[in-house]
Symmetry: C2
Subunit: 385 residues, 2 copies
Amino acid sequence: MREVAVIGIGQVKIGELWEQSLRGLAGDASLLAMQDAGLAHVDSVFVGNMMSSSANHQQHLGAYLADWIGMRHSDALRFEAACSSGAAAFRSGVMAIASGQLESALVLGVEKMTDSPGSEITFSLATAADADWELDQGLSFVALNALVMQRYMHEYGWKKDDFASFSINAHANAVHNPYARFHEPITLKDYQRAGMVADPINLLDASPIGDGAAAAVLVPLENLGKKPARPTIKVIASTAATDTISVHDREKPTWLKAVEISSKQAYQQAGLQPTDIQVFELHDAFSIMAALSLEASGFAQPGKGPQLALDGQITPKGKIPIATRGGLKARGHPVGATGMYQIVEVVQQLRVECGETQVENVRVGMVQNIGGSGSNIITHILQRL
Amino acid sequence: MREVAVIGIGQVKIGELWEQSLRGLAGDASLLAMQDAGLAHVDSVFVGNMMSSSANHQQHLGAYLADWIGMRHSDALRFEAACSSGAAAFRSGVMAIASGQLESALVLGVEKMTDSPGSEITFSLATAADADWELDQGLSFVALNALVMQRYMHEYGWKKDDFASFSINAHANAVHNPYARFHEPITLKDYQRAGMVADPINLLDASPIGDGAAAAVLVPLENLGKKPARPTIKVIASTAATDTISVHDREKPTWLKAVEISSKQAYQQAGLQPTDIQVFELHDAFSIMAALSLEASGFAQPGKGPQLALDGQITPKGKIPIATRGGLKARGHPVGATGMYQIVEVVQQLRVECGETQVENVRVGMVQNIGGSGSNIITHILQRL
């Protein structure tokens, strides 16, 4: 099995980008990543995307985007695993390079969501849940997460305000990320005044959708020269685990079993412990998901996730910095692209390019992308050599 | 790079299966494949599917189906490359096993199309073409192929009847395949009387859609015991190439450049010539595509594809047998599942399980799945050891 390195990254600012097309966004991020990698050609184009079928009436994004960015005749595919589509493409790219089948891969996450009516997007997002057992009962994604958060508060005795620090940290960090959707810091008062979406999830617990694209270039580590221009970033773990598609089928709805499996496998692959992870870009689609991810990944005991946030341990200067570029909450959540934004951001941390939110002396970072309500978890650990 | 073997196959009969759900179909084919492989558990579930978003309002099929078939917590993903989604999943499974990341993969193609109105399916199929440059001009998939066929007939002087042998062979073979959608042989007269769909493509030039699922189990060759119960089927080539998404962007619309690239790479990987291929399951979505695939894969000179059919060389007793189980034309074309039916059928040939349409003394078979109008080509060569 060949070792794999990330040699280029690119991203576009997330927003409601009326003036940009799906291929425009994808092309911009891709060409930035290839320029950053110093490559004019790649063997393959791996695209993570969730909802172009409904939102853009365009499928077959592999061939479609390979053609657009000038990589005609390359190997190209689309990967879909709901909100973990970006990491799914990245993991497949890692395996393709590791297998020896390909010598370079452009991995791209893209989503163009805001051209569709909001009701259609809410419906499309819900197709990541079980159509028969969840959708047909009228559950949306935010409603599913609200049920989990209510249960969690009931079980462990947390109050609503105890979750505010997750959003405050995310928004504070996004201020310094030019690619983030939001650049406004928020206070506890803002959080308390935010409109309720699905009790107890309010507007400042929920990540915003958006249009966006982010990309990375992968090559075999053995193909790099002895003195590369940039710090070498190596993929030291790549794992994935699923859980029941329906939340109600789980033994304990407040424990992300697949996060536990995927994280443990990742630590094992990398030969590391949770305490070795210096930055963790997790999937804070809702503040409850940030708490649950910290617990199941081994950074907090069950039921103790919010304490880490309250103690300031999730900020760039804390024990386990998360959402250092704004996270899903404030950088934004263009669903199929999110996993690739997370990868790009950890590479930026490892390259020491994060300015005000740079984690000090960082050499090892973890990235975790979640599809569905905890039903597909893809974890990567990256290391600067 | 580890070598990869196919140790189990499963499929369901294609049809308009009102009484079956998407997961029912997928589950049946998967469990048949696992039973055939003698495995009770697999590491991963790779799903090829094109249109569950629009046709079934269900995405996230990796986690959804892994859960359904009892492989909860496994690694699971969905792959989409239009009508080549099945082979895309298979190729990704091959690379995953080859990389050393996984020890077993259930690869599954599934499509449940007939619950939706035909107009919606026609529209969904067309999302494999370019939404801006083809769909918006009112082109459907059959219309695109009709333009190519007209041009081909004009360039090379073929008459409409010259294409009949492709459909006659496919239907004759499907009679003996219990999993095929159609079991009626057809004559030249039937072909001549068939209703026109988009001139010159008539009903007997076009493959039928359908509901279906087919699956295979992959493991590293090195994990097989010394005396396996079944003949060992090894994957000796796996390649993919794309072309322009729009047909009008090609230098020569009647030449499948990506087929040429993908096939040549496959021969090179396997160390073989076209003359070594003893059975070829190609992508005969339309009879013109069968002719073009034979040419670009090196079995006929440009413009001479129909001659092979007229000379009887594409039948199970001919030089290059195609559609030996009915092909897309008569076995049926449940789009995202088709690539896996093709794989299953070549494995059946190599295991000498094809009865009346068995190719004699066969040890090497090629499989080629096409997405879009020749815009994504995935080729595999399998060999019985």
